[in-house]
Amino acid sequence: MSEPIFRAENVSKAYAGHIAIENISVAVPEGSIFGLLGPNGAGKTTFIRIINQITGPDTGSLWFGNERLEQKHLEHIGYLPEERGLYKKMKVGEQALYLCQLKGLSKRDALTRLKYWFEKFEIQGWWNKKVEELSKGMAQKVQFIVTVLHEPKLLILDEPFSGFDPINTNLIKSEILELKKKGTTIIFSTHNMGSVEELCDHIALINNSRVILEGEVSEVRNRFRTQTYNVDFKGSMMEFSASLGTYGELLEHGPEADHMDATVRLVNGATTNQLLGNIMRTVEVRGFHEVIPSMNDIFIEAVQRYNKEIAAV
């Protein structure tokens, strides 16, 4: 694991009587895609705004590399907010140039890079159009370009795919992966768990103002394994069920086109071999693999478990 490019230590923030985030500590490894997950109102946006220094934390410290996070680091951070927009009456090119210059790029650099990106996205023709003439998806594309143009070391994307059709979603996805290849670290906030599995290396799950789950995606998914296996076989479901004996418990089952499909959880500390030995005597096993929980299941499981604990206390 590489050095974190960004760290937060015990960061808390409260608004007049309402705690937005409490004791949040995360470390974002350089070059990774870091998923910042959590239900609505958990405090993700507040945390992202603190990273962007839009608001300051009440307590705790923030680090960019080895330095305390300061105003000057904003030039190395790119931020695509969830609620985003552009000046409607301003021309696309002029506006993109302005926003890039605000990030500290010289006019000349900004122009060369904008030209490159506009060609890449095949939108050169939009340069002199007013933003109000563009569709939502088109404006989002411009916004994405503006966010990454100053080649930030840390890129924060809040629901980057909202408003895009599947084709453009794929385009943006591949751009994100390309940026990662070039060494950009990306903090990725979304509710779309599919894209988390697809893109993220690390995740932190924020619920009720706190981080309740953190780690590498593969490790987190392993942590949530439940000894559950999927069996694909030919034969009678009744016999299959009977053959599980004391080793397994049938969770789900159903006939597929020309075979049977069942989900089984190991019980009483049984091993897969013990279970398989039993099953193979009664039915013809065609496939056997472990069911690793999806990020979606983990999200729901973790949040519900946490809420139950809170309720119990």
Binding site: R49, N52, I54, Y79, P81, E83, L86, Y87, L102, V146
Partner: protein
Amino acid sequence: MNKIALIIRREYLTRVRKKSFIIMTILGPVLMAAMFIVPVWLALNEEDEANILVIDDSFLFNERMTDTDKIHFFFPTEGLDSAKAQVLASDDFDAVLYIHEKIMSTPTGIQLIYDKQPGINVIRYIENTIENDIEKFKLAKSGIDQATIEAAKTNIKLVTTKLDEVGEESKSNTELSMIVGMFSGILIYMFIFLYGVQVMRGVIEEKTSRIIEVIISSVKPFQLMMGKIIGIALVGLTQFLLWIVLSTTLISGGKALVTDYFAEQKSATSIEEAMAGSKALTPQSEEVAEQQLNEAAVNQLFDSINLIDFPIILGSFLFYFLGGYLIYSALFAAVGSAVDNEADTQQFMLPITLPIIFSFVMAQVVINNPESPMSFWLSMIPFTSPIIMMVRIPFGVPYWELALSMTLLVLGFIGTTWIAGRIYRTGILMYGKKISYKELWKWLRYH
């Protein structure tokens, strides 16, 4: 710093390039000129034509109602009823003026009976003529002759002189000071409103288009707010500068026309005079005297124009013009940040517009009494001083008062901007919430 410059540049350029800016810049001076010229022109040209039948039962006015270019009097021999019938029947006559016999003792109940409403000028002319004549009759009755009255008429023009602290006397012209003061006050009032509201709209635009979060991830909210305020101030200055240039061109053009016109008139009268020769000496000498008096007044006006301390007035005008705008525009920005759309601004506008309107109203009181304690205090309070002090300055204000007022204005600006900045940075990220004053107070205390 560089980023503020970028923001200022954008705010300035996007506004100056707008069609509405260009149109207003051209139209402004024209409208301004029209405001002064049109009423005069109307008054000169729209004098109504009227043919009036006079039925005079007192037999006093038959020879005395003199025609003007547009108003003609006729004295029919028939009675009132037939005159009325005549007015109704033909388009040649517009009204009947009926003067009853006891007009000398009871000067009421004179009637103007019309079928078409005569203009205010016609009515005023008739009233004046009758009034004058009755006065003259009455004076004549009591044995005072016309010449005595004329001789008794006097025209006074005060030469007002200000005694300043060093004991030097300087002539002043109260009327001119009033005009200069009031005019500057009105300009500042307009500037605060026109451009303060633009700041507010700009903030709302950034909020509703949701670009705000993108921008404040690059610059501090305070930088954005100040950039916007300064950028729009420059737009305002540009517009006023262009107005001044255009107006001066228009006015000097107009002046040339007027001078030509007067020159022509003068040569015409001199020819007339030459032709009249030595005839009617008395009225002419009267005319000469009047002319001399006029000339004296004009000279005095020019004297006092020269006496007005223009560097001070212009300098302080610029200062209060900007200061007044700055102190209010920050508040306008705060209001813009607290709402989601322009319709919701109403509830917060009152505390801002109230002091502006108040100072504008008080300006008319201050102008009549520029040195009263109230005038002094109003010209010190930062929220009223931009307008009130500007009204006072042409009358002469001690330097220490000016310095104090300016210092207070600068402090006031820093104070309001600080407060507005705190409201602003919270407000711009608040959506879909009806904001109350209590809420604003909370925002002020966030850190």
